[in-house]
Amino acid sequence: MRTHAIVVSVIALALLTATTGHAQRGGRAPEGFLREGIPKMPNPPGPAPKRDLSGVWVGPIDNKPDRLPAMTPAGEALFKERKPYGSASRNDDLGASNDPFITCDPLGFPRNLLAHAVSSRGRFIFGSAPDRLLIAYEQQRVWREIWTDGRALPKAVDVRGAPESRYYGHSVGRWENDSTLVIDTTGVDERPWLDEEGHPRSSSARIQERYTRRDQYNLQLTVTIDDAKFYTKPWTWMRADFYWVQGQDFAETICIPSEGIEYRDTLARPSGIVIR
């Protein structure tokens, strides 16, 4: 059984069974597990270390986002062009989805937080380098750089003299208090979808993550989006928990384009597969 060979088939499977926060995870977790697939730590959590999120975390768990606000006309126009697949599908036609993730295009930020793995959860780890925090994700093995040197976010991207937009954006971070880290991001490339349904996100969107470490094993993450180009007001896109990973380990979860394309061209399309 090969990790990346499975990934393609379980992308389809995952989207059959789970969308953003609406999935039924089924009854109670078995003894010794916080949730299915998440072992509970044997000892009770100690207090949160100060200004320290280092370690491997798994989530999102119990995501309770706001409903999406109404979109602007520009947002609606872009949204219409997008054809999701899986249970997020909005229409009945048998035409192929144009979700860029089918060909393994980068998920981009913040869609990568939704973690399209079998369990619809992914892991991430915090590290550091001079003037930065670094976040490495299990999902697609990508990493983000969060500048903590007090610099301002770029005022614009993709115009003369300005930095380019990036799939994972430009981010700055600061500690609001000893247990809350705030990260602000802008300049995300407009091509990656915001979510599985294909909602848009502009490169001028301001995306804020607030990580609050409640104790040694429990982390809360709230993500708010302020994107006046495409949405009529800001909203909370994610409100979820993350838990400490026993064994502090990762799997390698990478979408392999040749496998994704082969699946699409040799199986899904010829069969007229509609994944519902």
Binding site: D158, V159, R160, E164
Partner: protein
């Protein structure tokens, strides 16, 4: 002797051109002509700043005065950034001069030598970083 005269001529024209025949057998060179075709007053219709090669689609008139829709490829962004290009260097609607090696098989496509923007700025193709396909061998890191 001949080689020296050719080089001197190239330098005095202020033109950066390799004087040796393209002896390197990399992708794209075999498919494209060795001589340069110049399109003046080319109107950019699309600019794809992308891997593996950046593409410029443009409309121009060919030698017989016919309107042609061409696409020319150059290096990837990570190579072009190092020699003055950026994502916003070229945009649809820009009117530029394109100097390129056109496809031998008649496809309206080819490999870039350089573009000249309306303000006179020159942006070159490059083989920086082992980008097989560039014919100009323009490489600011050469000799380091």
């Amino acid at each position: 002797m001949k080689g020296y005269l050719l080089v001197a001529g190239a330098v005095s024209l202020g033109v950066l051109m390799t004087v040796s025949a393209p002896a390197f057998a990399h992708h794209g060179n075999a498919a494209y002509a060795d001589e340069i075709t110049e399109f003046k007053k080319a109107t950019v219709t699309k600019f794809a700043w992308a891997n593996p090669h950046t593409l410029i689609n443009f409309d121009a008139t060919d030698a017989s005065g016919k309107l042609v829709h061409m696409v020319v490829e150059t290096a990837a962004p990570q190579a072009l950034r190092l020699i003055g290009w950026s994502k916003t260097s070229v945009a649809p609607g820009d009117v530029i001069t394109v100097r390129m090696y056109v496809a031998k098989n008649g496809n309206p496509a080819g490999r870039l030598q350089k573009i000249i923007l309306a303000d006179g700025t020159e942006l070159h193709d490059t083989q920086l970083g082992g980008d097989e396909g560039g014919k100009t061998r323009f490489d600011p890191d050469a000799g380091k």
